[in-house]
């Protein structure tokens, strides 16, 4: 459904020295900078799949989404979305895609959402019955029937995002781009947004590309991810693959009454990362786990022991920052 092949984009911006003198100088001469936003990125997304696009600010996630939705032209490489070249912006292509940008309102600010939906119905030429059925379904699942006739500008951020979702899904798109859909939402709203996206994807099988800075979004929604660092692809594959390939660390938590002997001790096969009253937490390399358990249990009288996988978000963050290398 979505096939991206070595796509790249460079922005040209001008740099201005700070202060009044810098402003005056920039009137006469300008220093131009080429900023590589995306470089040689390739991946694919199938129908019914949610792909997580992960990266720090400025990593190129939104630029990639803009190229794949046809808003901007790439400088190199290519992409096919539903068999179309996105930036040719064919009408049939635009009829089948949707884009939600969490940081930008797409709805008409001064009008109630119901009015915006009617306009979208005509623009996308949705027949009456299908429109009503889809609208009823979305309104009921998102529980927003009481808000339909309130101007968009008077809605809370969470309510507005639900309306944006409805607007984006009214024409039952086959490809959906979600650019930080949960940004700024409270925990409850984030959860409800996530469960909605997951359920929608299971029922309607669109291909979805999702960007988010919240690891909960990625972990709960995306079986596959692409990690970008400074415009370059550093990982593409299963989320679990990261854990398997990169996370060699286990977290061992021990509940005990006696923590006094522990802090100053030099451990042979693990690292103490947390010591609170009655609780010790260690990072241990997977292959040294047996040796570490023997060591720690010979010293500490444990009431309870748990062994967990290291937090995947730590690994992803390390990849994003370049502190870890993909295998």
């Amino acid at each position: 459904m979505i096939l991206v092949d070595k796509i790249g984009k460079t922005y040209r911006t001008h740099r201005k020295a700070p202060g009044l003198w810098g402003s005056i100088r920039s009137l006469v001469t300008r220093e131009w900078l080429d900023k590589v936003a995306v470089q040689d990125v390739s991946f694919k997304v199938n129908a019914g799949e949610i792909l997580g696009l992960v990266g720090a600010n400025g990593a190129g996630k939104t630029t990639l989404i803009k190229m794949l939705s046809g808003i901007i032209h790439p400088d190199s490489g290519g992409a096919r979305v539903l068999g179309f070249t996105p930036w040719e912006r064919g009408i049939e292509f635009r009829r089948q895609i949707s884009l939600i940008m969490g940081q930008k309102a797409q709805l008409w600010w001064d009008l109630p959402a119901a009015d915006c939906f009617l306009l979208l119905r005509e623009i996308y030429q949705i027949d009456g019955k299908t429109y009503q059925r889809t609208l009823d379904e979305l309104v009921s699942v998102l529980d927003v029937s009481a808000l339909l006739h309130i101007p968009v500008r008077n809605l809370s951020l969470g309510e507005r995002m639900k309306m944006e979702l409805i607007a984006a899904l009214l024409h039952s798109p086959k490809v959906i781009f979600l650019d930080e859909p949960t940004i700024g939402l409270d925990i409850m709203a984030q959860r409800s947004m996530r469960s909605f996206i997951l359920e929608y994807c299971q029922r309607h099988k669109p291909a979805i590309i999702l960007t988010s800075h919240y690891m909960e979004d990625i972990e709960e929604l995306c079986p596959n991810i692409v990690i970008l660092r400074a415009g370059r692809l550093v990982y593409s594959g299963a989320l679990e693959g990261i854990r398997a390939q990169l996370s060699h660390t286990k977290i061992v938590t021990i509940h005990t009454d006696s923590t006094s002997a522990v802090p100053n001790r030099r451990w042979e096969s693990g690292t103490l990362v947390e010591s609170a009253s009655g609780l010790l937490r260690f990072k241990v390399e997977r292959e040294k786990l047996r040796h570490f358990m023997n060591e720690v249990l010979s010293i500490v009288e444990a009431h309870d022991v748990s062994i967990e996988e290291a937090d995947i978000s730590d690994t992803i963050a390390a990849l994003m920052k370049g502190k870890a290398q993909p295998v």
């Binding site: 009408i91 005509e122 623009i123």
Partner: protein, 269 residues
């Protein structure tokens, strides 16, 4: 191809948008209409009294009063388009329209029609009142026919206006701010569009050059048609000139749009 229902819906949504700020709308319509009518009355009365003449460039005092108010009103309708595309580019709002299955420029023309409807209503009412009560053979040539044809020409003029302004505003793809260019064009329309006085009152050679420029065809021409001063061959000549400008500007506009889209970065506030 956009369906007629979509066109109606776009117009309707823009109209509703306009109606959502009631006080602003009433002040805008009321103040501009009355202030201009008063100003025009005072100026033309003084001119006619001083010169002791009955007509200027074929217009009676009453006609010139209505001419000024009408031309200024049509000029205002054109002003709705000021910055209407460059701001979308600058603020990144264009992205929203680029992913929809609709032609952006066409959407903007229809939006303009929707927004201007609300301003047409009081003016239409005022013109009808003038036609019924203030109109006589001595003071005016306006007829129901000239009014209807004139409104049609006014609509065509504004389509031409949207295309002309969008060609200029598409330069926003290259330069962040093109406000000054739009303002420059706007002032040019004010100067050569026949807003203050009909072109007939200008020196003949200048008036004849201006007569075939899009600036006049957008403002002065529809005003003169409404007031019944342009008909027959002159009307056809004006319409043909509009058509020629429409084809030329639309070709240019599409070329700039296609090239500009390749520059668009989708960044904004």
């Amino acid at each position: 191809m956009t369906s007629p229902r979509a066109v109606a819906q776009i117009m309707s949504i823009e109209l509703r948008n306009k109606l959502s700020y009631r006080a602003d709308l009433l002040i805008e319509i009321g103040c501009t209409l009355f202030a201009r009518a008063y100003l025009s009355f005072v100026v033309w009365q003084a001119v006619f009294q001083q010169t002791g003449t009955n007509t200027i460039a074929g217009y009676s005092q009453t006609e010139l009063l209505v001419y000024f108010v009408l031309a200024a009103f049509i000029f205002d309708l054109n002003s709705i388009n000021l910055g209407f595309i460059s701001e979308d580019i600058y603020r990144g709002l264009l992205s929203k329209y680029l992913i929809m299955p609709i032609n952006y420029q066409f959407y903007k023309i229809i939006s303009w029609l929707g927004r201007s409807l609300v301003q047409f209503l009081p003016l239409g009412a005022a013109l009808i009142l003038f036609l019924v009560f203030g109109n006589s053979q001595d003071t005016s040539r306006m007829t129901v026919f000239s009014l209807l044809v004139g409104i049609f020409v006014c609509l065509l003029g504004n389509v031409l206006n949207v295309i002309l302004y969008s060609t200029v505003e598409f330069l926003g793809f290259w330069s962040d701010k093109v406000w000054s260019l739009s303002i420059g064009l706007h002032l040019l329309v004010y100067f050569a569009g026949g807003i203050m006085i009909p072109l007939g009152a200008l020196p003949y050679s200048i008036g004849e050059v201006f007569r075939y420029l899009p600036l006049y065809l957008m403002v002065g021409f529809p005003t003169e048609v409404i007031l019944g001063h342009v008909h027959g061959l002159a009307l056809i000549r004006g319409l043909l000139a509009m058509l020629a400008w429409f084809v030329l500007l639309q070709t240019l506009s599409r070329a700039v749009w296609r090239r500009g889209l390749q520059m668009y970065g989708g960044v904004g506030i």
